[in-house]
Structure formats: C-alpha cells, structure tokens
C-alpha cells in the first residue's frame, strides 16, 4: 500500500495505491468482510482550525491507516517518514512493514471528545465537561453518486454545534470508500481522522470515545459476543490502541465500564440532553426517525431506565423487528436482557419472543447498572482520576459477583 496526502485550504486529500499483493477485498478488525469502491477521499478541517500542511507525519499515517488497513497485506509506504516507534507498532501488532522511518514521535496534552451526538458520547461529554468536541460529518464523495440522501449528517452536525461546547466539525467522504457492506467506516477508528489531523493544532494528547461496556468488553455488535479483554479494536494494548498511543493520541474510553442503560441515563440527565440524537435519519425539528433498528433498540433502553411501557409504532411483524423474533444471540444482547427485564408490558411488544427466550429479571441484569472497574484502570493515567471519581459518584462500581458477570459473558 502506498499512501499520498495533499492539502490545500484545510482540505486534506488522501490517495492510496494498492501494491501487487493488496486487494480490493478485505476484513475489518471487527471481522466484517469489506470491499473497496475507490481509493481517494477528503477530510475538510474547520477553516479556523487548520495549521496548513503542518501536521505530524505519524498522525497522517494513522489517519490514512484507518481507511487503508483492510486492503493492505504486507507493507505500507507513507509519503513522509514516520517515527520509529510507530513503525515498530506496525511491525509488532500488525505484521506490516511500514516506512519510510525517520523523525521524532509526537505528543500533546489535551483530551478531546469524539462526539457523535448519541447517548454514549454525550455521557463521555458529561464526564469531561471542559473537553472540546470533534464531530465527524459525512459528506458526499465527488466520484460516487449519492444514493443515501436519507442520511442527515447535517442535522447531527447542527445539533453538535448547538451544544455550546467547543466543537470542531470535520467533514469527510471516507465512508464512501466502502462498496460493501455499504457506506461506513472502513475501520471504526476512521471516525477519529478529524482528531488526528487536528491533534497538533489543538494540542491533543488523547481522544475520548463513547464505546461502552458491550463494545469494549462483551464483544458486542459485530464482534465476538463473549468477554474480550484483548479486544483488538478498543483495548489500550491492542493493535489499534497501540497505534494511537504511539502517535501521542491514546484512545480514551471513559464509559467503557458502563452499559448503554447507564450512558443513556447519564445523557438524559446531562445539560446536553436536548441535543441528543442517535439516529442519522431524523429531521432537524422532528427528532429521531423512531422506526429504524437503532431507534427501536435505543427506545427499549430508554423505556427500561424510565420504567415505562415501550413507545413505538413498530410491531413484531415488521421487517425491522424480525431479528428479535428469532432466538438469541442478539446484537447488544445484554441491553435486550436489561430492556425486557425492566419494560412493563414487554410481552405485548415486538420483544415478547426475545423476553421469553432470555428470561431476564431485574435481579439478573443488575450488574448492568454499575461500572466495571478494569475499564477505569485502562483509561490513561492523566484522565483516570476524573473518570474514577465520576463513576464512583454517579454510577457505583460493580461488586465482584457483578464483575464476574462481565468476565463470564457468553451469548
């Protein structure tokens, strides 16, 4: 893989060229099969934040890697030398020969929040009330006809801008690089390209993300569905965690010890709650769409923490609800368990079958209301104390028995 950056007026253009052994098919770190559409993308930094071409090569290298990794088989050649420490991580954690090598590593001091506007990143924002936000906004790709106009990334960017926080909105078309399974981050870490390219300008020494208990420790979503202390995507010592550490922008997961029930509770209690939005399809005034799988899943969680019946128009016979008519495992299963255990009248909803399969109770899901302490230990030292204090004050730590529920999780 050969990577080339050009920049003009705060717009960074990335082109990558495949080596003979590379391929347009590949695998995301979460195991998903991917197919490449095209090999160019752009990242637009806010006009008032750009420091011209003066971005540390290590940051540019990792930013490029978040879109180039799935297609790369053996080696990556950057257009400017990377620090030996970074090259070493490529070698040891990726088995990839990266170069050219030269120059010094970088470092920074401040923490920024990778803020999407959803409940999880809003909870992170609540833990760090003074941290600036970097918001990723999808824009269309000049070479790809837009078949996804129902995605309203502009609405989310608008909501982020209304939070009153220091927000850098970074626009990129990099999600359109993916032909299959559809537009999305080639690697989950591509969401941080803005923070990487702004790290020098903003003096960033860490990037906080809203990945919660399920994503970090339970192999949730597309991952393994069992306890994953060595999660290659989000663990501090994994292949990605090590890369970010090497470029002076370690991954910080302040809410990795708590479930989505708790991040939701914290978000809805925070002063940003009016700006929360977890769905890309809603309009500006109209709120979330309410009928996509994400909306239904989040409604289950919200109804559970508010101990009220499910408020939805979706019924069991609708395609969107099909997944919950089948036996487990489910994506985000711990939250389905929590939801069916706490929502009154669940037997009259699309989750009736799931509730019958799971047989979850308030007692059996109580561990999901507390914080898994090892997640706090994984936060880099300079921000750990703040996370620890926040979790102790606002959530409470898991007992040993509860922590064992995390460590024996298997769906």
């Amino acid at each position: 893989m050969r990577v080339k950056w050009t920049v003009a007026d705060g717009i960074w253009n990335l082109t990558f060229l495949l080596d003979p052994e590379d391929d347009v098919t590949g695998t995301c770190t979460d195991g998903a099969r991917l197919e490449l559409r095209t090999n160019t993308c752009q990242i637009r930094l806010p006009k008032d934040r750009t420091s011209g071409a003066d971005v540390h090569p290590d940051l540019l290298a990792v930013a490029a890697w978040t879109v180039a990794a799935p297609w790369t088989r053996q080696r990556v050649t950057f257009d400017r030398p990377i620090s030996p420490a970074l090259a070493e991580v490529f070698r040891t954690h990726w088995n990839v020969d990266a170069g050219p090598v030269g120059g010094d590593p970088r470092s920074g001091t401040r923490l920024a929040v990778s803020y999407s506007g959803g409940a999880d990143s809003m909870a992170v924002a609540d833990v760090f009330p003074d941290a600036p936000f970097v918001h990723f906004q999808r824009i269309r790709h000049p070479r790809v006809p837009n078949r996804w106009s129902f995605y309203r990334s502009d609405v989310l960017a608008g909501l982020a801008g209304e939070t009153g926080r220091d927000v850098a909105i970074v626009q990129s078309d990099l999600e359109l690089l993916l032909r299959l399974p559809g537009p999305g981050y080639p690697e989950h870490h591509a969401v941080t390209v803005g923070a990487l390219l702004l790290a020098d300008e903003m003096d960033l020494g860490g990037i906080a993300l809203g990945y919660e208990l399920g994503s970090r420790w339970l192999g949730g979503g597309r991952y393994t569905h069992h306890f994953t202390p060595d999660n290659p995507i989000w663990s501090g010592h994994g292949k990605w965690g090590s890369l970010f550490k090497a470029v002076g922008l370690p991954l910080v997961l302040p809410v990795a010890g708590i479930s989505e029930a708790v991040t939701m509770r914290l978000a809805l209690a925070s002063d940003l709650r009016d700006h929360v939005r977890w769905c890309l399809r809603g309009s500006k005034g109209g709120g979330a769409c309410g009928v996509c799988a994400k909306c239904v899943y989040k409604e289950l969680i919200q109804a559970a923490i508010e101990r009220r019946p499910l408020n939805t128009t979706v019924t069991a016979d609708m395609p969107i609800a099909r997944r919950w008519q089948e036996p487990p495992p489910y994506g985000g299963q711990e939250m389905i368990e929590y939801g069916v255990a706490h929502v009154p009248g669940i037997e009259h909803t699309m989750f009736a079958k799931a509730a019958a399969y799971l047989q979850a109770t308030e007692e059996s899901t109580r561990w999901l209301e507390h914080c898994y302490a090892p997640a706090i230990d994984e936060v880099p030292e300079q921000w750990r104390k703040q996370v620890d204090a926040y979790m102790v004050d606002n959530v409470g730590l898991m007992t040993e028995d509860e922590a064992r529920r995390v460590e024996t999780w298997e769906t």
Partner: protein
C-alpha cells in the same frame, strides 16, 4: 201564467237556491194539495210566495252572488294570496332548492374537477413513479456500474504499478 212546477222545480233545481229557501218552498208546496179553491188560493199564495221567494231569492242570489263573488274573490284573493304565498314559499323553496342544487352542482363540479385533478395527479405520479422507479433502477445500475469502473481503476493502477516495478526502465 203557465208556470208549471216542473220548470219551476227545474228552475229551482237549476238555480242554485240557497238550501234554506228551497226547504221552506217545498214544505209549503206539499201542504197545499187539498181543495180547488184552496188550491187556487194556494197557487196564488204560492205564486206570491214564489214571487216573494223569487225576490227573496233574487235578493238572496244577489247577496249570495255578492257573497259568492266576495267569497270567490276572497277565494281568489286567498287563492291568489295562497298562490302567491305558495309561490313565494315555493319559489323560496325552489330558490333554496335551486341554491342548494346550485351549490351541490358547484360542489359536484368542484369534486369532479378535484377527481379529475387527482386522476391526473395519480397518472402523473404513476408516470413519475414509473419513471422514478425506472430512474431509480437506472441510477442504481449506473451507480453499480460506476462502482465497478472505480474499483477497476484501482485495480488498473495496481497492475500498472506492478508492471512498472517489474520493469524499472520503462516509464509508464
């Protein structure tokens, strides 16, 4: 005067004598069939009576006619009034009905126009839909084709680079 009863009766019968006069005349007539002299006297009496009655009747008739005329004219007036009233009522009702009819008619016209417009819209939408579906499919196919073009471009560059790496002397 050769006035026989029959023509008189006919007369009486023919003329519309008020019922009260006719009854009095007939009852006297029945009682007179007794003697010749009586008869004559009776006839005289009857004649007088008749004359009187006739006069009376004439008067009556005049009165009656007047009354009748009055009645008739009253009737006519009433009729006329009634007619007018009815006419008014009817015409009002008719007008109402006409108005209602008109508004209904207008409504129907409007509805028809609406239906026509809707039909047209449906047709347009259907046509547009067809075109949109076709357009969408076309766009999808175009986009897919373009995806392949883009992907092939990546592959072509990969191949060119591979070739140039193998033959460093050639400047591709």
């Amino acid at each position: 005067m050769g006035l026989s009863l029959r023509p008189m009766m006919r007369f009486v019968g023919r003329v519309l004598v008020p019922a009260r006069v006719r009854r009095a005349f007939l009852s006297r007539l029945d009682a007179r069939y007794v003697t010749q002299a009586d008869h004559r006297q009776d006839v005289r009496n009857i004649r007088d009576e008749f004359r009187r009655l006739h006069r009376e009747t004439k008067d009556d008739r005049r009165d009656d006619a007047a009354a009748y005329a009055t009645k008739e004219s009253a009737k006519d007036i009433a009729k006329a009034i009634a007619k007018d009233v009815v006419k008014d009522v009817v015409s009002a009702a008719v007008k109402d009905a006409q108005r209602e009819n008109q508004s209904l008619r207008e409504e129907i016209v409007a509805l028809r126009a609406e239906v026509r417009a809707l039909k047209q819209l449906t047709a347009t939408v259907n046509k547009a839909n067809d075109q949109a579906v076709k357009g969408h499919r076309l766009a999808e196919r175009t986009a897919e084709a373009l995806d392949h073009v883009l992907q092939n471009e990546v592959r072509v560059w990969q191949a060119i680079d591979g070739l140039s790496a193998q033959t460093p002397a050639t400047n591709l």
